[in-house]
Point group: D2
Chain length 372, copies 4
């Protein structure tokens, strides 16, 4: 990068997690030409003229409550097959640079700071990151573990909302890639409106729900009534452990069911299970069983089995979103971006079918064109 | 139906086959309110104002080389689970009426008639059917067993082309729901052009290819490179036996692969098998295995298993097509209809992704509106 | 049957349920030569000389708390595809005869009888059944809906134990084809010992667990460490509804996991889900995902999908067990029969691998030989 | 190893192939305690007293027509996920030692040697290997690519038979882990009889057929008639390419079908496909679809999907067989060993069910006990 290049910050909540580590390492690998940009939609032709910040111009930092250095996290991910052996060492300097920009998250047990104090501290971290690195802007992306749905009447904001509030206060576009609350709480409504920042969420659509958003429209278009749609997810890693908490799983499942209800018009029979299976590591298997009716009541069944690596599916989408929101901010767009429903289980409005969401995304790519 | 209602003919090539029998019985059942119109896209809201001939106004006839009476065929299908028990007797009179309108097909071995004589005879059957029944028009629909791909340099037209030529000569819109040649031969090019009739084809998209036409676009839209797409189809019934002939299977497979090539830009690795498994009767199981790459080369896999009854999937589409082409003819439209690519593996142009094909179909529904 | 033939009673707890209705109708169909005895192990060659009561000599009765007549239940099962259309009418007289032998079960809400009074009443029903029909003996078979596991410290016996106690009191061999308590309670221990009757249980092995009992030994024999074994069951019908109760599902799952623990030496990671999906009716789909290690730690996966009709799987086994226990009683055998572990998820001892259980069953068939 | 330890040779035909390389590297890793002996049945408790040569006492060599050094082959396998990264360098000296013992195979195109000359040369290689390394005996194991089935009336022996003849001539026990001809040709009958050496074959049972040999007995034991058994194998690597040749695939499939015919009594409907899918590398996916009948003709289906690494499945079995045949030779056993049917698709007699084959293997382990 030339010294005069505009640089853009990407600030991960959960910066030492699998998704953030994969995104950080992968961005460096793609920028260095070590790997093609598989899974990065913003690197395909329709986005070439949209004025997105180049991959090589992204600067990474973030909050996390853990201590494990990023290079070591990357080695662990490579050992688990999430990224190629050899990659962590090939991008070691970029990982070390990002590691130096990670600040302690919170609140941890025993932390006596108020919500306001925490928001102030987090916002200061963001402002400091931008100033020290000479960044044009910083996009905050929540990729932390899924929080339990907040109890009704809870007095304090959940952590995801504290970070989101800090983003708004620091003037940063915000992406919530998890099912956690983030900006979606009445307590932040006024600040969000006043901030006039672009933001997007909620809950990245990487596997089972991605499939559902292409298959459910097929049944509707072909006038084939869906009687039951059942699913089981097996996954290990940190995500599996977090979702073993029934409250966290409930938050996740709400998003998963939304696509069916929105597309089919009503919720079909069937449940969704999320099982923590540590033996699978970061690899996820999702089985879906769809019972539908044909002509004259013939009973038919479609089953799908999806075997993927969640971090490898999420990381390029996270980079896409950071680039798109950075450019939206540059173009002066603000508020929720329903054009980004393509990426989310529980989007801020817009269509539910992936093909329609893709059309909306292409239109957004067009809208982002213009002078830099 | 009132005596003054406009009536529309549906003439099946292969009128005693599973698809035609299911369509004939099912149309009567839907018209009588015995069953909802599951699988009939033309009965959904967007088509309500398109001026399509009502289900109850369709009159059935056809060609076949076999003798088994339709009511008996329907009983056999009910025994195999293709339609509900009780349905054949509930629509016995409609089946008997259609049975009385079936004429001998050909050529059978030993038939010494020339191609021209056969076309003349078939066209006379069509004209006679229309006149005797006072039909506004008759749509010819090929649902006969798949023919082997014609040998290069063959002197005579394949049977499917003889029937197609007869349709043109008799002034009938034509649908080819099979992978057989039909109108797609240079020998008929001039007649087709002169006939100025609407026609549509080729090879109905009912299962594995339907799925491929929704899943392949997902990989493209998400920028996930597909490395290999393999498939196996197990089916019995007449279709299974016909496709056990490698030449017939080759004709079928060409269409199946087209959707992948058109969508992905090039053909991925992988083969498609079609196995005759008589034990499965009219039920088909299609297994697909898709190996794709994620970010940083992560190897991922999607598998799908589709278990459906081919006749129950095809029959409502066949009724859709007959109604749409009848109305297109009424509105003076002619030539191939790429707007109907939604229904075909190997369509007459138009987009390859099901969602785009559906948009084209909706636009066509709009275009058909107007005075009757 | 000649008037002098020895006749054997089969008394179903849950006599109007799917399994009992299928067994009753199917026994009549097999006896009449209308169907082969698919699924009846006792009709295969190794059992020909074991002196089992002939299929045609079985007389059916039972307890149930519902009222629906058996012929009507059979029609409903035929409509759901559990038995062929036409079968209920073909065996209508046998169904009516069995229907006439069904007595009210209990206790229903509001029933003020004590446990002792209920046992006495049920035992009187059994004795009366045997006397009126001149039966050599009657085998009681529990095929009622799964009970919740009894709460610790419960004062009263669960219904399954009341019926089991009645069987002992009436001198009847007893089979528990469900995971309910039945004889397995300290409260009945003395009576069971004093009764000196043969009995067998618990929880019929018809699908997922059957598969597990053949697959788990394969991994052991091939020295392939199983890391995780996960499963999901989808089913409708009465069984699906009953197992939607978490307490009932817990009772069921305990048996399902036992086969893995017994075979593999310890429980692998992974959960088992049982989902009520009413749309599936009596058909069950069970998906299993087995993660195992190969040489040098290679991660491998086996997945199985089992699609079967539970009642059709259970009914022939229930007839097998009734015949085997009747003959065991005739030969003076008493107590739990570990030789019948072949049939159960949670057997009374014996090996866990199906192949070993089959060898034990063959040895039992040999032991039952001798004069009648 | 102490200098006085008895050492045993393992001579691979196809010594630079995936299976041989994995076995060679893996044996060193297990001997060094770097990995547990997953998949090695001979390392389980029942074999502890059988007097098998210790893993650390095996010395490797072989024939191959390729040149790629073993350490480099091992690196390629590690890159493809067949063995852990780091393993090739950890056992580099053992790989280099084995590499130094690999002799050119043949005949390559242009080789003018007669069959007799080739056999003599190969036997000399074996004798020389044993003498130079001071080996008690050497077991020859064929793990070369599958040959096409020999044309009827072929004048010359296939290569697999030349190597097998050389093994006999050099006094070496012989294992044929492939479906190639090996010893099974009348031309070698007299030599095999005169050699009085133990030998075993044919075609290692590592995936789909392994599963079939445990599932087919289940259907028989439960009296459930199998109507159709269909299968598709997807695999890349050298094996995929070799089996893309229809003649080679035919040789492979004959073994695959044998287990069904032997177990079920007759061949069910259904085909088996083997597709070369280079994208899958050494990983194989096998899908099986089994249609079976339940009570009263209920149609049921079991599907299995097996995803494994063929080389990692085969390598420990190859080590097992080398050890078992070495010990059999030491104990003076000769001729075909039906007790080893556990390992083969197309064994030299013995039972077809895996559980029975395992019992036979355990009895063999017992028989091998005794003084060394």
């Amino acid at each position: 990068m030339s010294a005069h290049t505009v640089r853009t910050g990407v600030w991960f909540i959960g910066a030492r997690g699998s998704v953030a580590t994969t995104a950080t390492a992968g961005c460096a690998a793609v920028a260095a030409g070590l790997h093609p940009a598989a899974g990065m939609v913003t690197e395909t032709a329709p986005f070439a003229e949209s004025g997105l910040p180049p991959v090589a111009s992204l600067v990474f930092g973030g909050h996390d409550t853990l201590d494990c250095p990023l290079p070591k996290r990357a080695e662990a991910l490579a050992a688990g097959g999430v990224m190629p052996h050899g990659l962590p060492s090939a991008v070691r300097s970029e990982l070390a640079a990002a590691d130096a920009e990670i600040r302690p998250g919170g609140p941890l047990p025993g932390d006596t700071r108020t919500d306001e104090e925490l928001i102030t501290a987090f916002a200061a971290d963001l402002t400091d990151f931008g100033r020290r690195n000479g960044l044009a802007r910083t996009v905050v992306v929540n990729v932390a573990s899924t929080e339990p749905a907040p109890a009704p009447g809870a007095q304090r904001l959940p952590a995801s909302s504290l970070y989101a509030a800090a983003a708004i206060r620091a003037g940063c576009p915000y992406v919530n890639f998890t099912p956690s609350t983030g900006l979606r709480t009445p307590a932040l409504q006024a600040a969000v409106a006043a901030g006039a920042l672009p933001h997007a969420g909620r809950d990245g659509k990487t596997g089972q729900t991605l499939l559902r958003s292409v298959l459910a429209p097929m049944f509707v278009q072909r006038a084939l009534p869906v009687r039951a749609w059942s699913g089981t997810n097996l996954l290990g890693g940190g995500d599996g452990a977090a979702l073993a908490d029934p409250a966290a799983a409930a938050a996740k499942n709400a998003g998963k069911e939304r696509v069916l209800t929105d597309t089919l018009g009503s919720a079909p029979e069937g449940e969704v299970h999320i099982d923590d299976v540590p033996a699978l590591g970061d690899w996820k298997t999702a089985w879906d069983h769809i019972a539908f009716d044909g002509f004259l009541g013939a009973r038919m069944v479609l089953q799908t089995t999806w075997q993927g690596c969640d971090s490898a599916l999420a990381a390029p989408l996270v980079l896409d979103l950071a680039r798109l929101l950075a450019r939206a901010h540059e173009r002066g767009l603000s508020g929720p971006r329903p054009e980004l429903g393509f990426y989310f289980k529980d989007p801020d409005g817009g269509p539910a079918a992936l093909s329609d969401q893709y059309l909306a995304l292409l239109a957004f790519a067009e809208r982002l064109r213009g002078e830099k």
